[in-house]
């Protein structure tokens, strides 16, 4: 639920509740005031009559109006005090029942008791009350409507910079090589948000840059001594007086140095993939890469007398050229390496998946561990044990699913592209 909707829901409910409550109270107060006024009028009429009688010792001549009239009747009983009464009568002119308010009191004129009733129609009061209530309800409706419209427009406008900020955050990637630069805003809260985000990305970017330069420098610092070892070995090999035994030892040093540097490069690559330093924003022709990689290895395949069958459809993916090459390099290398001589490698590429299957030398690999770093089955020879881990990481980065299975004495690696 949007903040605005939530706020509106609460706001409108509260407003309606307040207004209804207010209206009810208003009605009763108004009713009370108007009734009191009515009674006041009746009472003043009473006083006028009493006053007249006291002065003239006779009943006044009574002027009746449509809304107010007085009746006088002789009476033997005497009301101890004036009494109000509600009653109603039929108004012939308007053809409706009107409620009236009556004030009854007794008066003695020249020894004769009279019961005087002062009547006043409540129609006027009721009309007034109705009108006032109507106006009030109209006003409430108008206020609600305007409130809603203003809120919607104003709040939408007020939140606009917030959405701009969100859009910018979505676009942002720390490997864009600069911290987020959100503009200053006139609204304090949003400005605070932008400012905090700017500061946060600044510090994230700093850490990221430091980490990146550390890995790069570390790699440089490690590769340099390795390079020295290798060039010294190349030089040593040229010395003709070396005994065969020394040569073998030198070569095993070279092997180790080469392994170390490969291991190091693989780990560095894994770190880079994990840090998402590769942006998948290139169109990559998958079929072309696979066929190229096969061609590059034609001599190896021939020497081992392997049979390669391919069934590839044209497929271009949103990917990273270099990573795609590494991915298929590794898959193909594994297939070639672990297929026995005269064996079969089958590669299938469709719109939705790519599948590498090859005849197995031994039994199945451990399904749970096959993609783990440094996982080496006993017959794997001298690999780094990182090839499949790199494949897995690349798939993970691209959102592909990779599954290993073993059927028909074949290793099968199937990569499911995004569904």
């Amino acid at each position: 639920m949007k903040l605005f909707t939530k706020y509106n829901r609460v706001n409108i409910t509260a407003t309606i509740f307040t207004f209804v409550l207010g209206s009810i109270a208003f009605y009763f107060v108004l009713d009370y005031v108007l009734t009191r006024q009515l009674k006041e009028t009746l009472r003043s009429e009473q006083f006028e009559i009493i006053h007249f009688v006291e002065e003239h010792h006779a009943l006044p001549e009574i002027q009746n109006t449509r809304h107010q009239w007085i009746t006088v009747e002789r009476s033997t009983e005497i009301l101890p005090r004036p009494k109000f009464k509600n009653s109603s009568f039929y108004n012939e002119k308007e053809k409706e029942n009107e409620s009236i308010k009556q004030l009854l009191f007794s008066i003695n004129v020249a020894g004769q008791n009279y019961l005087i009733t002062v009547n006043k129609s409540e129609a006027e009061t009721e009309d007034l009350l109705k009108l006032i209530i109507l106006v009030t309800i109209g006003m409430i409706a108008l206020i609600l409507l305007f409130n809603y419209l203003i809120n919607r427009n104003l709040i939408n406008r007020l939140w606009q910079p917030f959405y701009t900020t969100i859009d910018e955050i979505k676009e942002y990637h720390v490997s864009n090589r600069q911290p987020l630069q959100l503009s200053k805003l006139p609204i304090d809260e949003l400005d605070l948000l932008n400012d905090s985000l700017n500061k946060m990305t600044q510090s994230i970017y700093k850490d990221y840059a430091a980490l990146k330069s550390f890995t790069e420098n570390a790699s440089h610092e490690m590769q340099t001594p390795l390079a020295v070892i290798r060039s010294r070995i190349d030089l040593l090999l040229q010395q003709s007086e070396l005994k065969e035994q020394s040569l073998q030892q030198i070569l095993s040093i070279e092997d180790a140095a080469q392994r170390l540097s490969k291991l190091h490069q693989s780990l560095l690559l894994l770190t880079k993939i994990e840090n998402k330093q590769f942006l998948l924003n290139e169109s990559v022709d998958i079929k072309k890469i696979i066929l190229e990689k096969i061609e590059e290895r034609e001599d190896l395949i021939e020497t081992k007398q392997l049979k390669i069958e391919t069934n590839c459809t044209d497929l271009t993916l949103h990917f990273h050229q270099h990573l795609a090459e590494i991915l298929f390099n590794n898959l193909l290398n594994n297939s070639i390496k672990y297929t026995p001589a005269n064996g079969l490698i089958y590669i299938e590429l469709t719109e939705s998946f790519v599948c590498f299957s090859n005849d197995a030398m031994n039994g199945p690999l451990e399904e749970g561990r096959v993609f783990q770093r440094f996982y080496k089955p006993s017959d794997s020879g001298e690999g780094t044990g990182l090839g499949l881990a790199i494949i897995k990481e690349i798939c993970h980065l691209a959102g592909f699913d990779i599954v290993y299975s073993f059927t028909g004495h074949q290793h099968i690696f199937k990569i499911q592209f995004k569904s």
Binding site: E216, S219, H220, E221, M222, Q223, T224, L226, A227, I229, R230, S231, I233, D234, L235, L237, Q238, E244, L247, Q248, L251, E254, D255, A257, Q258, S261, K262, Q265, L268, E296, R297, D299, L300, T303, H322, I326, N329, N330, N333, I336, K337, E382, G383, T384
Partner: protein, 210 residues
């Protein structure tokens, strides 16, 4: 590096920091400069920029441990001719240097001769006693590699890396190299050439040339 390249018959000079490098390239014109990106006192890329601004035509090979793609791209954009990542075999460097010198001096059309074998580096073909010999691409690469590093022991690792690149650790199965060498020898002898490829047992191969 200097020792190895000097032994290959190049005249080599080396400097160890940015300032000396700039001084040297101001004074001399080199056929080929091997440039490390991380220099004390500055970046190798700045030197490239300097060369470009002054319209120097020295060939440049960048050497770096940073196999960051960005460095590679900016290096090539700035006019580097080639890019090697550490660590590499000296024999590999030697081939790259030879290629750049060929490209700059002879527009790539150099014929390299090794005894009776003549290698046309542009046409990627060889002839023995002026007679064309058909080689596969890998065999040609291997032969050129051995000839340029003539009279040097080249380890199998170095050959594997040259032929199949860095990312192909299957080549550590040296049978492939043996197969290529065997075919090469056969073809050379069949064309009436002398087999000058010496096997150094367990180590590698060496092109024995006078």
């Amino acid at each position: 590096m200097v020792e190895f390249l000097s032994a290959s018959g190049y005249l080599c000079e080396s400097v160890l920091n940015f300032k000396d490098a700039v001084e040297k390239i101001e004074v001399y014109d080199y056929d080929c400069i091997v440039l490390d990106i991380m220099l004390p006192g500055g970046s190798g890329l700045q030197i490239l920029q300097y060369l470009k601004e002054n319209h120097k035509t020295d060939g440049v090979i960048i050497i770096s441990a940073k196999d960051s793609l960005e460095d590679k791209i900016s290096g090539i954009e700035l006019g580097a001719d080639d890019y090697l990542t550490k660590p590499f075999h000296l024999s590999e460097l030697s081939v790259r240097v030879a290629a750049i010198i060929r490209r700059n001096k002879f527009q790539g059309r150099a014929i390299i001769s090794a005894g009776e074998i003549e290698v046309d580096t542009m046409g990627k073909s060889i002839s023995i006693h002026h007679q064309n010999v058909e080689l596969t691409q890998k065999e040609f690469q291997l032969l050129l590699f051995l000839i340029i590093n003539k009279n040097k022991v080249i380890s199998k690792n170095a050959i594997a890396e040259h032929l199949w690149g860095d990312d192909m650790d299957i080549a550590s199965n040296f049978d492939f190299i043996y197969a290529h060498i065997k075919n090469l020898r056969k073809k050379i002898i069949a064309a009436g050439g002398e087999d000058r490829i010496r096997s150094i047992y367990g180590v590698g191969y060496k092109m024995q040339l006078p």
